[in-house]
Every structure is written in C-alpha cells, then in structure tokens.
Amino acid sequence: MPDPSAFSGAEAALSSGDVDAVFIFILAICGFFFILTQGLLIYFALRYRRKKGEPPAATPYITGNAVLEGVWIVVPSLLLIAIFGYGFAVFVKLRTPLPGAAEVQVTASQFVWNFQYPDGRRSVNELRLPVGKPVKLIMTSTDVIHGLFIPDYRQKMDLLPGRYTYLWLLPKRTGTFDIYCSEYCGTGHSVMRATLIVMPQAEYQAWVQGERQKKPGMQSIAEKGKALFESSGCPGCHSIDGTPKVGPTLKGIFGRTVQLTDGRTITADEEYLRESLEDPNEYVVKGFQPIMPTFKATLKDDDLAAVIAYMKTLQ
C-alpha cells in the first residue's frame, strides 16, 4: 500500500508485506479519526454559523464534560499503544538476523555504491542477488553518512564512516529494483543511485560462474583476510585452535559472548571485531593485558572487512 499506484500484492521481499499491513492498519485508524474530527469541525462551523452583522445568538455555558474528555484520552491512548505495538513487532522482524545469510559488503562513498561478494567479486552501483536466498548487508561509509534505501523492500539504513550497520534481506520476487541514497551526502546525492537485480537461482549461479571465469585466481574475502591475518603477525598472539596465547584464541570468536576486564559482557559481532582491531584497548578481554597495538593505520576498510570475514571461518 505505501505505493498506491503500484499495488501489486506480491511481496518483493520478506516482511515488505508486513510493513504494508502496518501502514494499512494505521491508515484505517487515521481514516476514522480524520472523518470524525474533520466532519464535526466542518459540520459545527456551518451548522452554528451566524450571518455577517447578525447579533450573536444565545449560547450555552459549557466548560467541559468529564466523561467525554475521559473517552478522548483513553480511547486514543489505547489505539496509539496498539499502533506502537504493531509497528514494533514488524520492525523487530525487519531487524532480525536471517540464519544462513550470504554476506555482502557495502561501502558507500560520495557518490558511489560499492558491493563486494564473499568470493571477492566486486560491483559498482549494481547489486545482484538470487531470489529466495537470505542476504546480510554489512555496510559502512568511507566519508560522510549515506543511507541505503530500497523502496520496494520497505528497507532503509544509514551507513556511517568508521562503523558497521546491517540490513537483512530475503528477495521473494525476481526483477529490477531501485536503490537510493536516502541520507543527504553532498552535491551528487540525488544521482547516488544503484540497481538491485534479483535473479532466478540458476541464472544467478550461471552469472557467478561467468564472472569468475572473467577473473581467474580471484581471492575470496576470507582468503584475503587469512593472508592479511598472517602477514600482520596476528598468529603470534592469537591462536586459531583454542589454545590461549598472549591474547585470547580466535577459535569460534564470531558470535561468542566475551567477558571484559571491566565486568561488561559483549557479543563479538563485526562492529566489536572492527573496534578491537582499530582501538584494541577499548575492549580488553578478561584475563588478558591491554598490550595489543592498533591496526588502524595498516588495515584499510576493505582489509578490516576481510580479516573479520576470515575470523568468521574459525569455527
């Protein structure tokens, strides 16, 4: 329903129909109150109108009505809580991680969208996805704030420099969809657009094969990360087999709940790993010393993403 001119009925992506249902629910409540209030406003203004120059008619001295006022506090409050609850429930669905999602790195720069797939393929301003397969977008920006907006999917999320934000998508319909930058980012903001192409799975596989043949020897993101992990000297302090060294082991690090020296616990997601590489003393794992150097200067955005992708493979 948010697009009244293209009421196709078929969901473009998981939960986009749920968002539309919330929209229609709110619209129904708004419609009722719109007709009630505007109807009474116009009816009273005309019904009790007095002609120009006529002396005012006698009017009753009414200063309030406790019952009526109670009704229009309680009833709207209950409806508002219902709207909140429905919007909340669907929002949580939109934000819930989809298990088994393929990961795509999204890097926004003034005024270009860069996409990188797990096997190392890159594309600019074009994102191709297979229909029916969940995808996790791991997004960041190299300069200012951008916003990734797919109107047909009812999904939107800002991209921040120096931080990861995420979107989970499950395309349900093949076709071509618009991606817009929704957060004002400068002179070329309005031309910072990309295309999402959702393909049947077989077609998508054929396309992937074709791309790979074009660039033989292409490293996957995790392979690149492994190389960086080793060349940066990480294995000196961090084992990948579970034995503690100077630093904690990285076996099964991704998604693990980490105990910190200051008593906090934190779940190791992409953002945690990134901050631990850039500013290691921000989060010191319980039982270890704050001695790790920062890799902020040596590992660029892409490199960080690669090392993190490698760490995810250490199960």
Binding site: P2, F23, A58
Partner: protein, 540 residues
C-alpha cells in the same frame, strides 16, 4: 461592550506616535520590540518562500535543468535554515508573544524591558552574521549533519555563529517571559484565569530556556571541530558521527513545540471568541501544553530510527513518541467541542483558526506513520516526511500565525483589514497549500527521497502538480501581505474591541498607549465567560 464601532482614540495617541530611528532602536516598549521582530521574521518568511518557489520550479523536471545540483542543495538549505531559525521559531513568541503577553496579563511591560531590547539586538546581530554566511552559502541541509558539515568547504562556521546569537536571543526572551508570567499578572489573575495563549507561551518559554543551550553548545562543538580539528564527531579523529544527531535533535525536537504551542495558544483564544462560547476543557488544554513541552524532551530519537542507533533505543523512543499524540489530540477535541452550539462568525481570524485545525489534523495523523517503527523505516527521509512537517509547521504554525495576525492586526495597528481581500488570500493559500503538499505524501510512499536535485522520471507527474500548487500558494500569500500593507495605509480605523473579546488587550485603545494600562485592571473572572449559564435540565 456593544458600541465599539466608534474609532478608538488610540490611533493618534498610541505607542506608535513617537517617530524616528532612536525611538525604535532604543525603545523599551514590548510592543515596539514585538513589531520589530514581526517585521524581521516576516521578511525572512517572504525570502524563504521565494526560495521555495525556486526549488519547486527546479523540480518541475527530473533532469539537470535550470540550476546545478549544488545550487539546488544551497537553496533547500537556505530555505530550511531561514524558515526554521529566522522565521518559524521566533515568529510567534518574539513578535506576538512580546506584544501580547503583557497586554493579556494586565502588565505595563515585560519583567525585564532592557533585557528584551538586548534580545532583539542579539537577534539582529545573529541575522547579520547569518546573512554574511551567504557570501559562501552552505549546502549541508538545515540539519547540519556531521561529518558532512564538518568537512564542507562552505560557510558553516559563520552560519553556526549567527544561529548561536539567534539562540541566545531566544533563551533570554524565554527567560523574560517566564518571569513576566510569574510576577507581572494583574490583581486577581490567578493561574486558572490566565488566557490560554499565556499558558502556551509559558510552556514555550520553558522549552526555549532548557533546550536552546544544547544547540548553542552543539554549534560551538561543530565550530571547534572545523577550526581546531577537535574530533567530537569525526570518527577518523575518534569522534562519534551519531553524537551530533543526538545533540541536534535533543534541541530540534523540543523546538518543534516552540513552533506549535504558541499557535495552539492563539487558536484557543480565537475559537471561543468567535463562537461566543467558553473554551471547552480549559484545564485540559492548559495542562496538555505543559505535557507536550515535557514529553517533547524525551522523544528526539524518533528522528533516528534508521540512523544506526540501536534497535532497543529506537523502540523506547517510538513508545514515548506516541504519548505526545495524546495531549495534542485532547486540544483538537476540545476546540471542536467548543464550536458545538456556538454562534459562530466566520470572520478572517476564525477562518484561519479553523484552517489551522483542519490542516493540523492531517499533519498530526500522518505523524503516526512516522512514529510507528516499521512504517517509519520506509517513509523517513522521503517526501512523506517533507509533506508531514509542512502540514504541521506551515499548515499548523503558520496558519495559527496568520490567524493571530488577522485577530490582532486591529489592536497592533489601529486599522481594520479588508475582509474580502483576506478571504481571497485565504482560499488561494489553502488550495495552493494542499495542491503543493498533499502529492508529496504519495511521492514519499512511492519512495522518492527528499533533498534530491534530480529524481527518477516516474515521479514527475506529481512533482508537476506540486509545483503548480506552489504558484497558487505564493499568489495567495502575496495578496495577504498586500492586504496588510493596504490596511496600514488606508484601512478603516479599528475600534477598541472589534471581535468582542474578553481578554484584557481589548480593554485598552487600538493601538494601545505606551505602558498599556492607565490603571492596572483587577481580574475577577476567567476570560471565557461567553454564553448564558443554563439551569440544569433546561434543554434549548
């Protein structure tokens, strides 16, 4: 009460009698200060409106025509910054508030007249610095989001400092009003005998004093980051890019109520006066103004649901947001109930007041789509949002301001407006406004992002409609201002009390004399004793 057709003697003896630059520049008279604010803010309304017409002209076509993307970005930034900071925030409080708070509470001036003049000078100084930034006009949007605003090569520093001064002026004005309302009320004017405009202005002043320092501080941090390279907001320097948004909206959301509460106050005066009925639910309206001011401080995060803020924070902010809707709804129901069985005269102030209610209902209801989390994700940062806040800010605040201007024009100037001109301006503005902004709801639902200099061609038809609407709107506003200027020169002299109102400003000549009241009045009743008290059970 019934022979007010006699021209008021105030016309030759009022506060406007003294002439000359010094009589204005160094006046302590709250009325003169109010008039100067009125002229300054409305000048920026007209300039900001002209920019809007240019913006709409650019959007007539989807491609690169008429002006560069950079020029477009500068124009929408200027339109927003001028309309928000130099017009809509100060427009009602500083102009009508200054002029009418002392008159409505039966005082000879505000509590601190010199401070009031100082606020005006700060405001004018802020305008000068702000206008100086036009030498290298900024293109960051009126929201100045970092890191873009920290990196932009345009005059962000100058504009920030200018708005800092404007903010100082706003804080001092709010402080002045709070003290005035507490200490300067006439004998017998208890809190529950205060006109509702005073309640609205009181709530407004509290927000101004509490919230404005935060934006002032934020501007200083931004300037420090730009000039000295201190990394408050830039992640490359260890800053937090979202921190700016939190600071910004911590001010800029409450300030939405600085814009709307005074307008609601005006409506609460006009509706009973022109319906000849007591206001329905006085205490509920008064307290809901305070409730809005209070809850308004707790909901800033609803501007940031897709900013990267945590899901848990978004949920809490959404929940609190819906509680602002309750007191807002109470006011609307109370105004409509006041009309019931009234004897309603549809003079120009009343038409504007009814228009306020009509448009503000649309603005308020569409806010529910933005407050609810799931739907906000889709419509935020699109034209839906643009339509929503124009319905609340222009459809609400500006229509309330127009109502107030038509209502109090005779008192301020001693002249009556031409009702026929006012009527023609009214229908052109209402038609133009809806034709301009209603299509934007649909554009936003279809996904058209805001702040787009160029846009996909599929959105063009509705953009053409909106642009044509902007011409009608501009014509209506032009006619309204011509009516003001004509009436200033040649309008018929106004009586003391043209609308038969019961608030205290109508007991003094039009225009009021210096120091307003020869003798401070004694108040024995609330100002809404219209109608006849009926015996119980005596129906019609």
């Amino acid at each position: 009460m019934s022979e007010e057709k006699v021209p008021s003697p105030g016309l030759r003896r009022g506060y406007l009698k003294e002439k000359g630059f010094r009589s204005w520049a160094f006046t302590h008279d709250h009325k003169r200060i109010g008039i100067m604010y009125l002229i300054a803010t409305h000048l920026f309304f007209l300039i900001g409106g002209l920019l809007a017409v240019l913006l709409r002209l650019k959007l007539l076509t989807p491609g690169p025509a008429l002006m560069s993307s950079h020029a477009y970005n500068v124009l929408f930034t200027m339109h927003g910054a001028m309309m928000i900071f130099l017009f809509i925030i100060p427009a009602i409080p500083s102009s009508l508030g200054n002029f009418f708070i002392p008159l409505l509470i039966g005082a000879r001036d505000v509590a601190f007249p010199r401070l009031n003049l100082y606020s005006l000078w700060l405001f004018l100084a802020g305008i000068v610095v702000t206008v100086a930034s036009l030498l290298n006009p900024i293109d960051t949007g009126w929201t100045f989001y970092t890191p873009y605003s920290a990196k932009s090569a345009t005059a962000v520093t100058a504009l920030s400092l200018g708005l800092f001064l404007v903010g100082m002026s706003s804080i001092l004005t709010g402080l002045n009003f709070i003290v005035t309302i507490h200490t300067m009320r006439a004998h017998g004017m208890t809190w529950y005998r205060m006109p509702l405009f005073i309640w609205g202005m009181y709530a407004t002043s509290v927000i101004q004093v509490l919230a404005t320092p935060v934006i002032g501080m934020t501007f200083i941090l931004l300037v420090a980051e730009r000039i000295f390279g201190v990394g408050f907001f830039d992640p490359a320097k260890g800053g937090d890019p979202l921190l700016f948004q939190h600071f910004f909206w911590f001010y800029s959301h409450p300030v939405v109520y600085v814009m709307i509460l005074p307008a609601m106050g005006i409506i609460s005066e006009i509706i009973p006066t022109f319906s000849r009925k007591p206001i329905f639910g006085y205490k509920a309206i008064a307290y809901s103004a305070l409730a809005i001011a209070f809850i308004g401080f707790l909901v800033w995060g609803h501007h940031m649901f897709v900013s990267g803020m945590s899901t848990a924070a978004a949920v809490i902010f959404s929940f609190l947001t819906f509680f602002v809707a309750v007191p807002t709804g109470i006011k609307i129901f109370n105004w409509i109930a006041t009309l019931y069985r009234g004897s309603i005269s549809l003079d120009s102030p009343m038409i504007w007041a009814l228009t306020f209610i009509f448009l503000f209902i649309i603005g308020g209801l569409t806010g529910l789509f933005l407050g609810a989390l799931a739907t906000d994700v889709h419509v935020t940062d699109t034209y839906f949002l643009v339509a929503h806040f124009h319905y609340t800010m222009m459809g609400g605040t500006v229509m309330g301001l127009f109502a107030g201007l038509h209502y109090w024009f005779p008192k301020m100037t001693g002249r009556m407006l031409n009702e026929r001109w006012a009527f023609h301006a009214w229908w052109l503005i209402v038609a133009g406004f809806n034709v301009t902004f209603f299509p934007m709801f649909i554009l936003g639902m279809q996904g058209m992002p805001r702040r787009y200099a160029e846009y996909p061609a599929k959105y063009q038809p509705l953009n053409i409609v909106a642009t044509v609407g902007s011409w009608v709107l501009a014509l209506g506003i032009l006619i309204m201002f011509v009516n003001f200027i004509r009436a200033l020169k040649s309008g018929p002299p106004a009586p003391d009390n043209p609308w038969h109102g019961l608030t205290l400003e109508w007991t003094v000549p039009s225009p009021p004399p210096v120091e307003n009241f020869e003798e401070i009045p004694t108040v024995t009743d609330w100002p809404y004793s219209y109608g006849e008290k009926e015996e119980p059970g005596n129906d019609e």
